[in-house]
């Protein structure tokens, strides 16, 4: 692509700290004895288990099926026995537990029969999507939205451009960078399949200019192929250029509308990791059972990228990287800007776990915030063009309606506003709070509306029953009166006829 790039408002230039974890090639940590697989590792409905405790499973075997449209399958990452299906702590900002399938591995790592598709153009787009769904592939950039849905624009939309997101703008994280350096050809394999499934005209691979090695590897791989209308575009390094909406703005100059989706502009965005996973699924018949995780930070002696089986407990991965985690170290899943603190390290690696950070200097400090001085730096930094200060006042006052007026749900939670705030106000935390409160309130309203209708129906039914009863009673009274009258008449008739008979 030669056209000029556009840009998005705000954003930050951040120190990358990426070299920490790019010194070694992608490694494979040893197989864990126990793999813990949460049934919900994606956006949407949790998968439902299709195995029972005690079942023997093979590597790549389905262990849970998709439950509904926005859901995917889950697979055994290694061979072994299902030892438990119960609640286990999962990586989540709440620190709560959720239903997980635990597999005791047998060490054999025996695959189930794999069915690669030698020529994907021989199968329909629909079948490709189903295969991707059954392979459990979700967006590996961090959100975890089922990928097959994003490959199905539907009849109302036409996809013009496919953007492959290799921007990876957040500091410390390098899993996409290393993937592009080492497996560029397989990323292109996946890209070919996606182009086929979407039927797109144009494809753009976006890479930030702080990854020259990844860029040259991808260019080299692309040069050796005969791809039509596919180009690599170098994006200037600025956080959060890797966020979908911001990336679209940089590449096309168009802004995704409020409450709209990228598809409304005829654009679909997929992460490079997802693209790679799709290539593995179709060309090798391998479902999503592992992902590349960056383990980095001040206290990680052997920082790097690790192709980790899903369900591997984090403490084992940390031990493999010779990590000395101190109790008060920031321990973050994701990057320093958007990640969240983990409650402990006995948590499994999931599909969306792109980076484990142990000890960083620039993570949000836990100091008491100072009052807002209305400097406006947050509004300058906001890449979504929102007014964080106004949102903050209304979120703080719990005036949720007002936060809607200021488009709270357009906030991408990138953390730029909190980062620049001189008073160290945890702005993003306020916005997340306001978002979950709003969603909860909507849910409550829906529930109370249902309760009102049910109560009204009940009252109406009781009223109808009462009237029916009264009607029945009235009928019975009438009938009784009628029969009484008839009897009396009969008696009277009998009485009047009796004297007659007497007379006779």
């Amino acid at each position: 692509m030669t056209s000029k790039l556009s840009s998005f408002p705000g954003g930050l230039k951040l120190a990358g700290h990426k070299k920490l974890s790019t010194q070694t090639a992608i490694q494979k940590p040893p197989l864990s004895k126990k793999l813990i697989l949460p049934l919900q590792q994606h956006i949407g409905a949790a998968s439902s288990p299709i195995v029972e405790v005690g079942d023997k499973v093979l590597k790549g075997q389905k262990i849970a099926r998709a439950d509904g449209h926005v859901s995917v399958y889950l697979h055994a990452p290694s061979s072994g026995t299902v030892s438990a299906i119960d609640d286990h702590a999962i990586p989540h900002p709440s620190g709560l537990s959720a239903l997980c399938i635990t597999i005791e591995t047998d060490g054999e790592d025996r695959w189930i029969e794999r069915k690669p598709i030698p020529d994907f153009t021989a199968v329909s787009e629909h079948e490709i999507r189903q295969l991707i769904r059954e392979a459990g592939i979700v967006g590996l950039g961090g959100a975890g939205f089922p990928s097959y849905i994003k490959l199905n624009p539907g009849i109302h939309h036409h996809v013009e451009t496919l953007i492959i997101n290799g921007v990876e703008c957040e500091p410390y994280i390098t899993c996409d960078d290393m993937l592009m350096r080492e497996r560029s050809s397989e990323i292109l394999d996946g890209l070919e399949i996606m182009q086929y499934a979407l039927g797109v005209k144009r494809c753009v691979i976006a890479i930030e200019d702080n990854k020259p090695e990844a860029l040259s590897a991808m260019e080299l791989a692309l040069a050796s192929r005969t791809f039509k209308n596919t180009s690599i575009v170098v994006i200037p390094t600025r956080y959060p250029a890797g966020s979908e909406k911001q990336l679209i703005q940089v590449i096309t100059g168009k802004e995704v509308p409020t409450k709209g989706l990228a598809i409304d502009l005829g654009i679909i965005c997929h992460n490079v990791g997802t693209t790679y996973a799709i290539g593995r699924t179709i060309n090798h018949g391998e479902p999503l059972i592992s992902r590349i995780v960056t383990v980095t930070g001040k206290h990680v002696n052997k920082a790097g990228n690790f192709e980790t089986l899903l369900g591997t407990p984090m403490h084992e991965l940390l031990a493999f990287c010779e990590t000395e985690r101190k109790a008060d170290d920031p321990f973050i899943l994701g990057g320093p800007m958007m990640g969240y603190n983990l409650s402990g390290d006995h948590l499994p690696v999931t599909k969306t776990a792109n980076c484990i950070l142990v000890g960083v200097d620039d993570a949000a400090p836990a100091t008491t915030p100072m009052p807002c001085i209305r400097c406006g730096d947050c509004a300058t930094a906001c890449p979504a063009g929102l007014l964080p200060q106004q949102l903050y006042w209304h979120a703080r006052a719990k005036d949720l309606e007002k936060t809607q007026e200021y488009n709270l749900f357009d906030c991408i939670e990138c953390g730029c506003c909190s980062y620049v705030c001189p008073s160290k106000i945890p702005l993003v935390h306020y916005f997340r709070f306001a978002k979950t409160e709003t969603m909860n309130q909507q849910l409550e309203t829906e529930k109370s509306d249902i309760a009102r209708v049910r109560h009204e129906n009940r009252l109406a039914r009781q009223e109808a029953e009462k009237q029916e009863k009264e009607e029945r009673q009235r009928q019975r009274k009438l009938a009784l009166a009628a029969s009484k009258a008839a009897k009396e008449k009969k008696a009277a008739a009998a009485a009047s006829s009796e004297p007659e008979s007497e007379e006779q």
């Binding site: 989540h92 306020y430 529930k447 109370s448 309760a451 109560h455 009940r458």
Partner: protein
Amino acid sequence: MLTAILAITLLALIFGLLLGYASIKFKVDGDPIADQIDKILPQTQCGQCSFPGCRPYAEAIAAGEVDINRCPPGGEATIQALADLLEVEVKPLDNECGIEKPKTLAVIDEDRCIGCTLCIQACPVDAILGAAKQMHTVISDECTGCELCVAPCPVDCIDMVETEVNPNTWRWPDPARIELQVGENK
């Protein structure tokens, strides 16, 4: 002088007719204020406000007969919303009616249920399923946690259980409250 009087009288007559026609033509059915109040109330139909359900309470508030602080299930948030709507002062919850409690759901201990149907008759939202001499159960999605089924049960087999938070229903804690706590600790 006479023309002026005539003109004014005529105008008054025309406008009077116009207003009279409008009041018939654009008549609003029901009480819109009561509807708005009813929308704010949590629809538990628990009767803790001493009215038989949310709607009668909403109508009483709209008529100015009672205070806005008589709804324990709605708690502070409902009082705040009502005060905003009616432009009156926020008042603390009336303790006579009850206290604000975390949301609960009724759960029937099915081993002990004798199938008397008393709870079914008490439930204001038809959230209990069962028949005479058959075991009853609560449709948990429909239960409003009003506790009206607890008292009629002759064998005390209904418990009010706090709804458990799972990662999907979890909400981010209020940062303002955390700030306050940090400030107090210092």
